[in-house]
């Protein structure tokens, strides 16, 4: 299934584009949002790669990123609110 890899490449390119927002973002909020989106894009790229290489065990990593990736973002939000 070669086309799945192209989808993965596309998502990684999107993540690379979002790194520009991490670099530029005038405030920490922008950087945090971009980092969150990069986490999500990484998870999707993982799904796509695992179906390309036909190993369902690779999906556990995507599961971890999906469930616990938002912890850091919420923590940063709490930090910005000043009530961590």
């Amino acid at each position: 299934m070669i086309e799945f890899v192209y989808v993965g490449i596309f998502y990684v390119i999107l993540a690379l584009m979002l790194l520009y927002r991490v670099l530029k973002g005038p405030s920490v909020v922008d950087r945090a949002v971009a980092a969150d989106s990069i986490d999500i894009l990484t998870a999707i790229a993982l799904i796509v790669f695992s179906i390309y290489s036909n190993r369902s065990i690779y999906l556990d990593i995507a599961l971890v990123l999906a469930i616990l990736g938002f912890l850091g973002t919420v923590l940063i939000a709490r930090y910005l609110e000043g009530r961590l």
Binding site: S53, N54, R55, S56, I57, Y58
Partner: protein, 116 residues
Amino acid sequence: MILVNYIACIILIVLGFYVILTKKNILKIIIGMGLIDYGINLLIISIGFNPGGTAPIFTFTELKPESFFVDPVPQALTLTSIVIGACVTAMALSLVIKIKEKYGTLDADKVRRLNG
């Protein structure tokens, strides 16, 4: 494919050393140590990689007869290295908190009561 990885590992390690050498904030120094960890872990895994291989975990379905594994030993080594890196980071951060309480600063130029 692997050559790119090696270059990236060297760049990561050099960036980590650059942070340790030039940045004066000790929290930033710990971030630099984290970068060195990433670089070395990537180096180990890249050494164990075998083009065309698959993950060294045996499952009944999904494995074709002709598929072969990448080298599992470097993966075990990297796992140990990651665990150690996490422990070192946690230890260093707790030291940073205590240093901040005691010295009132995070500047490496001012945390120098022991000299000479």
